[in-house]
Point group: C2
Chain length 632, copies 2
Amino acid sequence: MMLQRRFGMAFLVFSLSNFGLTLFAALITALVSPAAAGSGIPEVKAYLNGVDAPGIFTLRTLFVKTIGSVCAVSSSLLVGKTGPLVHTGACIASLLGQGGSKRYGLTWKWLRYFKNDRDRLDLVTCGSAAGIAAAFCAPVGGLLFALEEMASWWRSALVWRAFFTTAVVAIVLRALIDVCLSGKCGLFGKGGLIMYDVTSSNVAYHIVDVPPVLLLGMIGGLLGSLYNFFLEKVLRIYNLINEKGIAYKIVLACWISIFTSCLLFGLPWLASCRKFQCPPGHYNDLASLIFNTNDDAIKNLFSKGTDDEFQYSSIIIFFVTCYFLSILSYGIVAPAGLFVPVIVTGASYGRLVGMLIGSHSNLNHGLFAVLGAASFLGGSMRMTVSLCVILLELTNNLLLLPLMMVLLISKTLADAFKGNIYDLIMKAKGFPYLETHAEPYMRQLTVGDVVSGPLQLFHGIEKVANVVHVSRTTRHNGFPVIDEPPHSESPFLYGLILRAHLMELLKKKAFLSDPVPTDIDAFEQISAEDFMKRGSGMIEDIDLTEEEMEMFLDLHPFTNASPYTVVETMSLAKALILFREVGLRHLLRSPVVGILTRHDFMPEHVLALHPTLIRSRWKRLRLQFARLLKLF
Amino acid sequence: MMLQRRFGMAFLVFSLSNFGLTLFAALITALVSPAAAGSGIPEVKAYLNGVDAPGIFTLRTLFVKTIGSVCAVSSSLLVGKTGPLVHTGACIASLLGQGGSKRYGLTWKWLRYFKNDRDRLDLVTCGSAAGIAAAFCAPVGGLLFALEEMASWWRSALVWRAFFTTAVVAIVLRALIDVCLSGKCGLFGKGGLIMYDVTSSNVAYHIVDVPPVLLLGMIGGLLGSLYNFFLEKVLRIYNLINEKGIAYKIVLACWISIFTSCLLFGLPWLASCRKFQCPPGHYNDLASLIFNTNDDAIKNLFSKGTDDEFQYSSIIIFFVTCYFLSILSYGIVAPAGLFVPVIVTGASYGRLVGMLIGSHSNLNHGLFAVLGAASFLGGSMRMTVSLCVILLELTNNLLLLPLMMVLLISKTLADAFKGNIYDLIMKAKGFPYLETHAEPYMRQLTVGDVVSGPLQLFHGIEKVANVVHVSRTTRHNGFPVIDEPPHSESPFLYGLILRAHLMELLKKKAFLSDPVPTDIDAFEQISAEDFMKRGSGMIEDIDLTEEEMEMFLDLHPFTNASPYTVVETMSLAKALILFREVGLRHLLRSPVVGILTRHDFMPEHVLALHPTLIRSRWKRLRLQFARLLKLF
């Protein structure tokens, strides 16, 4: 139609097909599985840290994420597919880890061996590594991504398992690419991998190339931090809109789609025709970037031997468009990644810098684009090693030195501002992510300083009515159990009981009529297998008579009598290390009985209790040292 | 001389120069720093696990390791340089971490920022990664080696630091190679890197190549286990000899040198001349392998387009020689690595398999040699991912699929026998290495079950004579401190005090004349900095008068009042997780006071106390599952 100069019709077809695809993606996301919106990497990262966001690993989410991501990427929105691929991989892994999907009857019996917390975490880690490996055909990069960015706990055995996963992904992917290159997969064409156009494997770089590389790193750090800042603001505005209802969400997505279509269709008209390839069909350099898949745009930008192909104006327009359009596109209610938009944006300004420096450098513009992408990724995502290895694998092992320099500088510079993009999104979503290191002011506090709210505890032999009341009025998942006279000589912390186990006891009605310990009865009614079920009981589902409410429960046989315990004078930083390294959910405090959970260690909570610490000298000291150490 | 047919003279020169170099290496190792003998990887691995073997990181060791390794490798002994390089890297890192060497006056003031346990561990980890990177010019392989094999604790920040280290190593190394390739480094020639001779980057492999690859994996697993078995036996015999004195050690090294010289000089006479390159100068294929550096031998074996170059007999002789000579050479008193001998041996039988299969496979013999090396490495060292990546980096990214298969099979098969080679050496040296996972029978035991020997504890206010007596009669590094009536209402575990702190107190003579707590005096005499010194006091160096012995020490202000504590009914497996993950040295037990150290968790200790567990059903169950899980 463009060739026939039927521009109006062409725009209509272009924008309507974009609109339809976006609408479909937004509809299934909003109606079927809202958890599938966005990148998915923050959710998976939080899950691996021990935060279980609702519905992120269901079969529905998997379905919506896959279909929705295909639609969103096809609809010309500037969104990526890497994040959704990571989420998809993690989803499949988690479904395998819970023995399939019970709800849809897809279960395998042999999968029950993996049905425990540790194996499920391992599987999800491997799944996320597989996602990156699939997006970039980078097996080692995927492994390192999982290790550097995703995993909160790591075992030596996991290295091999994750690498096995990513290697299988890479092998299958390469086989499929080979099939497609031989022309046997019809419309799918050559697939959407970003591969650098390499003919000679030796890239020579000299001392004169150092200043431009340093410059790129600095620009990347600044632009990346700014990107994160804008993205956070836009997400906050979008959240206000999205909270109003499903209709608002979908309208927002539609508007973004229409805006994108107009922009993409309109912008190429601004660029003048280049001397080559232009007549008869209004083909120009900006259109070659804009009217392409993102992957092909990256390929164009990364390719060498095309130093004369782009004009300054086109590259600048393209860069500005990508920068802001990707920020606007991310928050809509559809699966949307950030990796590819960031690479496109970074590559475009890298190319621009290369064009400005021109013949003063030995590097060609394609290499500048690669370095620009690295610097922008380093500035916004801060995952230096995995990015370096992914880019090395993408570009067939060129450029180790300049890539390292660019990433080091952009990361260091950007770290002076705020956290990385995924941490910002996690914070925006309110996930209580637990960092490895303790904040310096935590050394000034003891475990006794951070307890808030009235403590709920049970006695070894407790009245049923009391258990029901506490279960109804609190959302705690673990309760300390104490023994007091006359059942023991002095008050004594017996252990910790879980809410799920209490629910099971209430369900089985293993009650005593008198508050006297008789543990024989209890074990006859209840077996160990009853406690293996997960999330089996809600307090609201349990019906008890008046009479039963007046009876008693002997909690002793069902209490964990050797929970991890700390004294209340222990430094908070020390307790945090225990909590984090062992991967606990509840930490008991003695001799004044208390319970510590993840929330008690969150900086926001601690600082809210002790506002004077915010500006303490520890904080300032830390800032200075952190700068220094980050150089290494 | 060989060309002039003066064979006797040639042998004399060959064997005497070998003898001299070996003698020198053995002498400096035995006299200056015995800790520099052997590979060094087991020592560094044990250090990173928390076992501090004496003298492994001194400036002397660094010196002896570097010089000795150069001499040993040059002296035609079949020993490697990778292990020594890893040890060297770790040594330099540790010296930086302790602020230089005090003994030789080489200290830097700014290094004191790294003078703490965590930074030192991090530095040593990075140093060991640098060693592997330097040996193979494999930055990612070095990183993964440190991660998979060396590190016992791992933080996300360490990924970047280790990669930065290895990348710098790789860049410097490449620059030096470039300089040497241009002929500017005289006798050093082309350097000893193993680089695969690649011209086309596409290696095609088909389904018919699967059986030979499987075969190689199986042979590698079996030969590798057998290699470990022989090596352990030989090391045991050598230990018996070496224990008798330095003279015995040196004589043993000299004998091995003479034996090696005879073998290497004599063997090429067995091989008949090949049709090419032979007359006039008795050059033959076996000599091309034997009279070369190991690195060049590997290069020859790995190279393609040389399918007709080697005879069956030569390869078989070479393989057998390498296999047994490397076992005999390792245990002598000189720096000696295992990596390169294992690669040479593996490559030779890989090539042999390739020759036997011949034209039935698409792979050339060079690739078979690479796969053979991988299988033998997998069978003896079991570090699958790092080996895979190192070999991928060595061979420029060919062969991902067959390498993975070979490593998977050889590792799985070999794991059915005994531990990996470094674990065997660590066990032979008696290092108490703490594994990540708890043995299954530990779930049947509680913390109370493993305490051995009489407990030494102190009271909050303790008699000086008592402190001196206990310090003299035990080697413990931590003691529980309890308060008893009349100082407290009931017996009460106050905390943990370290031997080093007790020594400092005795030195400062911060004594009380009466057993009454007055904490003001104590803090005036002693400041926090006094406790920062390390290993400052030996009990034998402290002189106390009779009068002082009758005085008292108030330990309260110097006791760690919030040590990690577990109840004695806690499962041993659970306590081990706490001990291992948090990286403790002492774990307190309550309410019956006790102390748990690394030795209490060692399987040997636990099984010695509870011999019935050795054949318990848990053990059998574990064996079955372990097999199954290792497939992943």
